[in-house]
């Protein structure tokens, strides 16, 4: 609502981000904790097992959990520092409300609740139910994700619910549904270890999923060849057998060309294609002109390298293809994904031991959170909100009349556009920081300023929450029971290690009370998280993401269960498609024709350089939590502009010069980091920061027509040398350049 209630500096002064460090000799009780609680890291789709040390209802440290099969104690720096989000001085300890000119003041829960509910009612009465929207996030557990889906449709009665998974893996989900009729990585990571060729496209595994590295290195120990597709020589690519430095936006051209080479050399599995797939002819027709010369021109990769990669891939006996946001964050994200699936299907290497394919889900519960009705077009069990049968089933589970269930709503970025158009007037958000994570965030900020009422549930006052009328002090990952589903489809158990401190409340409790005050308390009567899960099991039953056979006990006994798991005696499904029964209407895997399209914005004389964005290993997403953890901040304290020495020389740029980067949407200043590990025509900025340091001031809001994912990974920019030098204290860990 309107501008910030006080100056940014004043708000930051009080609510952070401030850096927190452990005491010099560790937290009290870390040597002899009251208990060790087995749970998972909150920071990415790997969901590494970890044990939290608890002393006097506070987290005092961690102890590796050696027995959890995925990571066997291994962690990345975020995982090691994960426990530092607890006991944080910035933590919101009470509900607060906006006070014009002063910032925020604590209020009682009664005040927060009654004001919230009266505003929801007022706005919906005046502008209609859909004028009150909800944005959510998939760092939340399955239980909360499910409950939010129900909350929006049953309590808020709005169609406009969407989530930050929209910025994550929706392109992969869209592609997978088209090709396989189901949205999940086809294999557990165990198959990676034995694959002969591993192709990683647009996945900075070593920084964004560090613990997955071990699986790739193990495969290489056994002789696997590694192909990495990335505009930068990421740490994973440094020793790779083939690194394909693709020009941002050129992915589908690359995979189209590889498909053509496979077909031309007959490196394809005719049996599999004939018996278990459809659409092959159309798919190869689409790439028939994609010869090496064209591919080199379009992708910016030398043709010999493309040929070498295609040869390795084509001739392999076993293989695993992994991709992530690098190919998905595009206005043709779904096409990029489909072009990858095409070369997997052509090879026939799927549904067999050591043959796999999958997207690597980014967020903590990116997998589970996208299955149970969290999306604007979705109902639990990955059902379709526009499908009458699906609607009927879920309406029954929820105990409502199908006619009262809202239809398909707007996606996250479309909601922002709808606010600008005046269609959305009020909003509730949880676990989402769009002011940092959405593209073109000046546009997002203006939208927030137009809302009549905005309520946010969070643990810290994020950049977005600063614009809220009321912020409700919710719970951290370790303060509420539940389950999450990892990127490999394994449902694991999150244990409540400590109860919410002070006047904070569990997120679930907050939502239930609002629902109750909106008059539907009977539909939200869950004494425990397990009760929510048990309802979710029923709701997902018969859907593609079928959790019916999974119970809390079974999860704990087996250290996770892979869905689909349709009955209690079913062991779960680590590897999909062994039965060759795909979930498409015709039961076959679908090839999809993919013709290359250029990115929405191309370089020109005015904006001659490609800009791409991504992450660093020490930060997680919009940094609401990780930008408050001292050691993680110190490792990489500010976003740097990675630029090739040749391009830098052209502009007369020296290391650590402040460079103004301008796009058609905004501008920002970043210190230059001159490195040979990036394409000469491309610059890179990590996106975890807000305000003037935000890379998303620059990125473009063009959406993929199917998945509605914004094109974070490519736009055109210009560079201006400001003549200033970075004033940030030089930290060795981020620089160490000697040239």
């Amino acid at each position: 609502m309107a501008k910030l209630p006080a100056s940014v500096d004043k708000i930051i002064d009080k609510y952070g981000p401030h850096k927190a460090y452990p005491p010099q000799s560790g937290f009290e009780g870390s040597h002899e904790p009251d208990k060790l609680v087995k749970t998972h890291c909150c920071y990415c789709g790997m969901q590494c097992g970890i044990q939290l040390k608890v002393k006097d209802n506070k987290i005092a440290g961690f102890e590796p959990w050696m027995e959890f099969p995925f990571n066997e104690g291994r962690l990345c720096p975020k995982g090691v520092q994960r426990y530092m989000q607890n006991n944080h001085p910035d933590r919101l300890m009470d509900p607060i409300q906006r006070v014009e000119g002063a910032g925020f003041e604590p209020i009682s829960w009664e005040q927060a609740m009654s004001k919230t509910v009266s505003e929801i009612k007022r706005i919906q009465a005046k502008y209609g139910n859909d004028a009150f929207a909800m944005l959510s996030g998939v760092s939340l557990t399955n239980e909360k994700s499910y409950m939010i889906g129900k909350f929006a449709r049953v309590a808020l009665k709005t169609a406009n619910l969407d989530y930050n998974g929209r910025l994550c893996m929706v392109s992969a989900g869209g592609g997978n549904k088209k090709a396989f009729g189901l949205d999940r990585a086809s294999n557990s990571w165990a198959d990676l270890k034995h694959a002969e060729v591993i192709l990683v496209a647009g996945a900075n595994i070593s920084e964004t999923f560090p613990t997955l590295t071990h699986y790739i290195w193990q495969a290489r120990d056994k002789g696997a060849k590694l192909i990495v597709v990335d505009p930068r020589v990421i740490p994973l690519a440094r020793t790779a057998d083939i690194h394909l430095p693709v020009k941002p936006g050129g992915d589908s051209a690359l995979f189209g060309a590889i498909l053509k080479i496979m077909v031309d050399n007959d490196w394809i599995d005719h049996d599999f294609i004939n018996n278990h797939t459809s659409g092959f002819e159309e798919a190869i027709e689409a790439v028939k002109d994609y010869d090496l010369e064209w591919a080199e021109e379009t992708t910016g990769i030398p043709r010999q390298q493309i040929l070498a990669a295609a040869t390795l891939w084509g001739k392999a006996k076993t293989s695993f293809l992994l991709h992530a946001r690098g190919i998905e964050h595009h206005s043709k994200g779904v096409e990029n994904v489909l072009s990858c699936i095409n070369i997997v299907l052509a090879s026939g290497r799927i549904g067999k031991p050591y043959c796999g394919y999958g997207t690597i889900t980014g967020q903590g519960n990116g997998q589970g959170g996208r299955e149970h009705g969290h999306k604007c077009d979705q109902l639990p069990g990955n059902r379709d909100i526009t499908n009458p049968e699906h609607r009927k089933y879920i309406a029954e589970v929820w105990g409502i009349d199908e006619k009262d269930m809202p239809g398909k709503g707007l996606t996250a970025y479309e909601q922002i556009e709808a606010i600008h158009r005046g269609e959305i007037k009020g909003m509730i958000s949880i676990c989402f920081n769009p002011l940092v994570s959405l593209p073109n965030n000046n546009f997002v900020r203006e939208a927030l300023e137009k809302l009549e009422f905005y309520i946010c549930i969070d643990t810290f006052l994020s950049e977005t929450a600063r614009h809220a009328d009321i912020v409700m002090a919710g719970s951290l990952h370790e303060e509420e029971d539940g389950t999450v589903t990892t990127a490999e489809g394994r449902v694991v158990r999150i244990n409540e290690a400590v109860s919410p401190p002070g006047n904070t409340r569990r997120d679930g409790q907050i939502l239930m009370e609002i629902a109750d005050r909106l008059g539907v308390g009977d539909k939200f009567n869950y004494p425990t998280s397990e009760d929510i899960f048990n309802e979710l099991r029923v709701a997902s039953k018969g859907g593609t993401a079928d959790y019916f056979g999974i119970t809390y006990k079974k999860i704990v006994d087996n250290m996770g269960i892979f869905w689909p798991c349709p009955s209690e005696d079913h062991p779960g499904t680590p590897r999909l498609w062994e039965d060759r029964k795909f979930k498409t209407p015709d039961g076959k895997a679908h090839f999809n024709p993919v013709s290359y399209r250029p990115p929405a914005e191309r370089t020109d004389e005015e904006y001659p350089i490609l800009l791409t964005t991504g992450r660093v290993v020490s930060q997680y997403l919009s940094g609401t939590s990780t930008r408050r953890i001292g050691k993680l901040v110190d490792q990489y304290p500010e976003p740097l502009l990675e630029i090739h020495p040749k391009l830098a020389f052209q502009y007369g740029i020296k290391d650590r010069d402040m460079i103004k980067v301008i796009t058609r949407r905004g501008e920002g200043e970043f210190p230059a980091q001159i490195v040979e590990t990036i394409r000469e025509d491309t610059v890179f900025i990590p996106y975890h920061w807000g305000g003037k340091q935000s890379a998303n001031q620059l990125t473009i809001g063009t959406l993929d027509p199917v998945s509605k994912i914004p094109e974070f990974k490519v736009c055109a920019c210009q560079l201006i040398v400001t003549g200033k030098k970075s004033t940030q204290k030089l930290t060795d860990t981020a620089y160490q350049s000697y040239s």
């Binding site: 010099q24 000799s25 040597h31 290195w217 290489r220 120990d221 056994k222 002789g223 020793t239 060795d732 000697y738």
Partner: protein
């Protein structure tokens, strides 16, 4: 370390003997040929002389080790140079800061400093009281006809008077009580760390880390026992208190040169190391060829090249450079580059 004690070191024996003779001479001189010597303290005197021998012996042996000798010679050279005044002042300042007040420990932990300081200052004050008393350098007398005034004598010379029953008298005669209290508080603080800190529990040893604290507490408690006895028990248990105290103190004195407490004397080398660094900085810094940054004084790098050779390590390279010319980061990167090349040459980074 141990091998140093396997055979006696001749030079050290001579030096230690000289030290004992000098102390003996000073005892005779200060006590006016034992006139002012308190015969009750004879056991303490013998124990102290033994400690002097031991400390001097070990100090001498210690100084003979190449790295120690180097620091000793360098710091003496720098101290007694044209910059004597500035270096002497600097050393004096550091002496107070780091030896008397042990401020550097505060940077390891504040409570640790507090505990150590209480313990150390208690001990140092106790030394300042007991050694002159034991050696007969100081004694107090009542003069005939004046039973209300104490006369303090230092080296046989009158150094002041104070009335019996005065605050001064109370403070002076209970000096060791105050010291004991400081030492007990400090030792208990340090002991608490040793039984609660997981890292210390894993690495400490009884004789090197716990026994010294136990001894200090024992000395202080038995010492307090003597005061308690004559203040509240009219000396009924004096014999027992005095004997146990003497036994503990003498054990401690005998052990002083060989156990943890020797660090009190070693700590002085910290002053030398500081001078060495300071003078080195004036002469110029060494730059690492890998990082291009200054990382240490050139003097230090050069000395270490010689020193490592004396100790049997030859880090010279064929091209005349030395591995120690690299900064620590430079060395780590050199190792990583060599490893990378070896891996690359083999054609396999994994397997």
């Amino acid at each position: 370390m141990l091998r140093l004690f396997q055979t006696l070191n001749r030079v050290a024996v001579i030096k230690a003997t000289i030290a004992v003779v000098i102390v003996g001479f000073l005892v005779l001189l200060g006590s006016r040929d034992l006139q002012n010597f308190d015969p009750a303290l004879i056991a303490y005197l013998i124990g102290t002389l033994f400690a002097v021998f031991g400390i001097a012996y070990r100090y001498s042996v210690w100084l003979q080790r190449p790295p120690t000798r180097l620091y000793w010679r360098r710091s003496m050279n720098f101290l007694f140079s044209k910059d004597f005044i500035s270096y002497a002042l600097r050393s004096l300042k550091l002496f107070f800061k780091n030896i008397i007040f042990q401020r550097f420990i505060a940077h390891r932990s504040k409570t640790r400093w507090a505990g150590h300081f209480l313990m150390a200052i208690g001990c140092l004050l106790a030394f300042a009281i007991t050694i002159p008393l034991t050696f007969g350098w100081i004694h107090f007398e009542l003069r005939p006809g004046d039973d209300v005034t104490y006369y303090a004598k230092v080296f046989g010379f009158e150094a002041g008077t104070f009335p019996l029953g005065s605050v001064q008298a109370f403070v002076a005669f209970h000096g060791l009580v105050w010291c004991s209290i400081l030492v007990i508080i400090g030792s208990v603080m340090m002991m608490k760390r040793r039984v609660t800190d997981g890292g210390l529990i894993a690495t400490q040893s009884f004789s090197e880390d716990l026994l010294p604290l136990i001894l200090l507490i024992a000395i202080s408690v038995t010492g307090l026992g003597i005061s308690y006895d004559y203040t509240f028990l009219q000396g009924k248990t004096y014999q027992f208190m005095a004997v146990t105290h003497a036994i503990v103190v003498i054990l401690w004195l005998v052990w002083l040169p060989f156990g943890k407490f020797f660090h009190i004397f070693q700590r002085l080398a910290q002053l030398g190391a500081n001078l060495y660094k300071h003078e080195g900085e004036r002469r110029g810094m060494a730059t690492c060829e890998h990082t291009g940054k200054e990382f240490a004084t050139q003097l230090h790098v050069n000395d270490l090249k010689t020193l490592t050779k004396d100790l049997g390590f030859d880090y010279d390279k064929k091209d005349g450079r030395n591995h120690l010319d690299l900064s620590p980061e430079g060395k780590r990167s050199a190792l990583a580059k060599a490893h990378f090349e070896a891996r690359k040459e083999s054609g396999k980074f994994f397997g």
